[in-house]
């Protein structure tokens, strides 16, 4: 039995990070390091207008004056920002008008990723004559595929265009919709907001851009898959989503990364703007390479995500399932400016082995009758350490502001940690702020009960943890929820016994 067990264990370890492969594609990179010339190189590569280059340079100069934050609980060796590449683009024929012009290697990569939705078909099927307009269950997801730093393919553009929806890479938006980009870029996350956001503002390479016009309900889920594929390439996506008056959009972001020994820096910025009566639902499944069991390698995920509920009655809902990365530093937030605006944050964060996560949200109540809801489920296993850090701030004019926060932590094993750091600042006496927190372990009774019914230990843990996260997972769009459940199980393999 011992021999069988060790074989099984070996195989499992080999499979543990099944997305750990590398695609061999010729890459055009900028020289290592970051300086004004590199930023000019990036801007030139992307054929950007002068105003964009100026914006980047301004951010870069600001960045030089900032210091890396140190208040978070996560620990990592100092990052040498001059030792990374800031631009890498897969070489391809200029301006692919369709997917069959795209390097088949890229498509192969998506296949290997086992992208579970029907994106693979969509990616392959776009050129299929007459097919794109046939609505079916699987085609309700539009994909903007980001490979390394450049957006290589955008599908279903036509269908979206009919509705007036703009869904493209941010690079394209800079070329084709400069008025929107100029108006909103940096309006939610200013250049100097924080060290990593500032770095992103200087050297972001690509990302997604979405504009939903007035009164339009986006007819499909918008989806992006990110993937880091070049050694030492910092990945700096920039995403900007604008929902104009009375519009609705649901956006999905998911990612996997190949296995690496070197630490990879990932500092994205996501800005959401919701105008009058608009609603944005932003869902993330994050599965960056978490490093090996001893904490070697793995992605540093330093992300700034923020939404401005600018219009009255606007609503933003963040849902995140965070299972990857060596280090996660991420606080998707809502600025509730408009009266009656609503911000919601649903989070599942799983840390195993040596992973560290410092994540949570900020809800800033500015308008009257604004309300926010925070449901955070943290699961820590192995020697991992996790912190929920949240801020609920009620400003003096936010009459009748409401907040409900629930933070639950689940510990697996005795070497992991979970911390909850909620900040509450209320400057309006009519505000009602509630905070509930629990910390628990998977009980022996539960494990034995499941195993007595025939479930093996890992299955049992997966089931119990999925139950623990249910309130959050069920806020995900259907297809994503199924994928997320599987991911929860994979992330905790080997965490018990």
């Amino acid at each position: 039995m011992a021999a069988t067990e060790s074989t099984v264990k070996t195989v499992r370890e080999m499979e543990r990070y099944k997305y750990g492969f590398e695609t061999d594609i010729e890459v055009e990179t900028a020289p290592k390091g970051l300086n004004e010339d590199i930023i000019k190189f990036i801007s030139a590569k992307k054929n950007e207008p002068e105003w964009m280059l100026e914006w980047r340079l301004k951010a870069y100069r600001l960045w030089l004056t900032l210091e890396e934050p140190s208040w978070q609980k996560v620990k990592f060796p100092p990052i040498d920002y001059q030792d990374a590449y800031y631009y890498a683009a897969p070489i391809q024929k200029a301006g692919p008008k369709s997917l069959d012009e795209v390097d088949p290697k890229l498509l192969e990569t998506y296949e290997k990723l086992g992208i579970p939705l029907k994106e693979q078909e969509i990616l392959a099927g776009v050129e299929g004559a007459g097919q794109p307009d046939v609505p079916d269950m699987g085609s309700n997801v539009a994909v903007d595929a980001v490979f390394d730093s450049v957006s290589v393919a955008t599908t279903y553009k036509k269908k979206l265009e009919e509705k007036g929806v703009i869904f493209c890479s941010i690079s394209e938006a800079i070329q084709n919709h400069p008025e929107l980009v100029k108006k909103y870029l940096g309006s939610v996350v200013p250049q100097g907001d924080n060290y990593f956001a500032c770095l992103n503002s200087a050297c972001f390479t690509d990302g997604s851009f979405v504009y939903i016009p007035k009164g339009v309900r986006c007819p499909m889920e918008l989806s992006t898959y990110f993937r880091i594929n070049q050694k030492n390439t910092g990945q700096f996506e920039r995403t900007l989503i604008i929902a104009d008056d009375d519009s609705y959009v649901s956006y999905l972001e998911g990612c996997t990364a190949p296995q690496r020994d070197e630490n990879q820096l990932h500092a994205a910025v996501v800005e959401l703007v919701a105008l009058e009566n608009a609603e944005i639902k932003y869902s993330t499944v994050q599965n960056w390479y978490p490093g090996d069991e001893d904490g070697r390698g793995g992605v540093y995920n330093f992300v700034t995500k923020r939404a401005a509920c600018r219009g009255n009655n606007s609503k933003v809902m963040w849902t995140q399932v965070e299972t990857g990365s060596a280090i996660t530093w991420k606080y998707p937030s809502c600025i509730l400016q408009g009266d009656n605006s609503v911000g919601e944050f649903y989070s599942v964060a799983i840390t195993n082995n040596m992973q560290q996560a410092d994540t949570g949200t900020k809800m800033i109540h500015i308008g009257k009758n604004t309300s926010s809801k925070i449901i955070s489920k943290g699961i820590s296993a192995g020697r991992a350490d996790q912190t929920y850090r949240g801020l609920v701030r009620v400003l003096p004019k936010a009459e009748n502001a409401r907040n409900f926060t629930q933070c639950d932590s689940l510990l697996i094993g005795s070497d992991c940690g979970a911390h909850t750091v909620p900040y509450i600042e209320s400057k309006n006496p009519s505000a009602k702020v509630e905070h509930e927190a629990t910390t628990s372990r998977i009980s022996d009774d539960q494990l034995f009960y499941c195993m007595q019914r025939g479930l093996n230990q890992e299955e049992a843990v997966g089931l119990i943890v999925n139950g623990f996260c249910k309130d959050v997972l069920q806020t995900l769009p259907m297809e994503f929820a199924v994928e997320a459940q599987k991911l929860v199980n994979i992330s905790l393999e080997g965490s018990v016994g």
Binding site: F448, Y449, M451, Q452, R453, G454
Partner: protein, 255 residues
Amino acid sequence: MKNMAPLIEIKDLHASVDGKEIIKGLSLTINAGEVHALMGPNGAGKSTLSAVVAGREGYEVTGGQVLLNGKDIADMEADERAVAGIFLAFQYPVEIPGVGTTTFLKAAINARRRARGEGEIEPMEFLKLLRAKQKELDIPDEMIKRPVNMGYSGGEKKRAETLQMSMLEPAFCILDETDSGLDIDALKVVSDGVNAMRSPDRGFLVITHYQRLLNYIVPDYVHVFAGGRIVKSGGKELALELEEKGYAEFTEQAA
């Protein structure tokens, strides 16, 4: 293909919890088709016995053997024993927040199918089976929709255990104090469910403190369990005798 070995054979079993010996030389043979009742005072080690047979961690077998169809199960994990046919109906069924009852049942059924090299159960087949068993045990849909054992009354929990047992079709069932916390109506429903499962291929060990349950689930054999071992065995009439005299004489005997 019929296995000639007894369904369950417990040979001079000794078991400890936290270094303290609870089971002190217990022997018991149960053949397929038989229902055995194990009766004893509180603290005799009845629940320890069920945990040991089911393979719960922390229960150390210090001597003797448990054989299932002639095969020693000492090296089998709890889930392997379950899949091999041992089912334990818990005295206190455990709540699992957020996990749907049907999800749980499906996972349990599929674990068995996987062990047999079969694919997962078809949703329609599962639903049909569930509906039929629900009807037998008078379990409303509303109960099934809740997470595993969440918010169930004592009676509902035991009905749910019986439902699981009935769906998983185990070869050997241990009912651990199934009558505790049951009113008379619930006791009837649960007993009917168990009786419906009696078959020449299946054996039962009914662990109870009171004779009452045995009016409904009539055993073939009754054993008195005291001081960590079986001190007297007999037919169903032994249960009545116990009800009358109490356990005093046996606890003295065991001590």
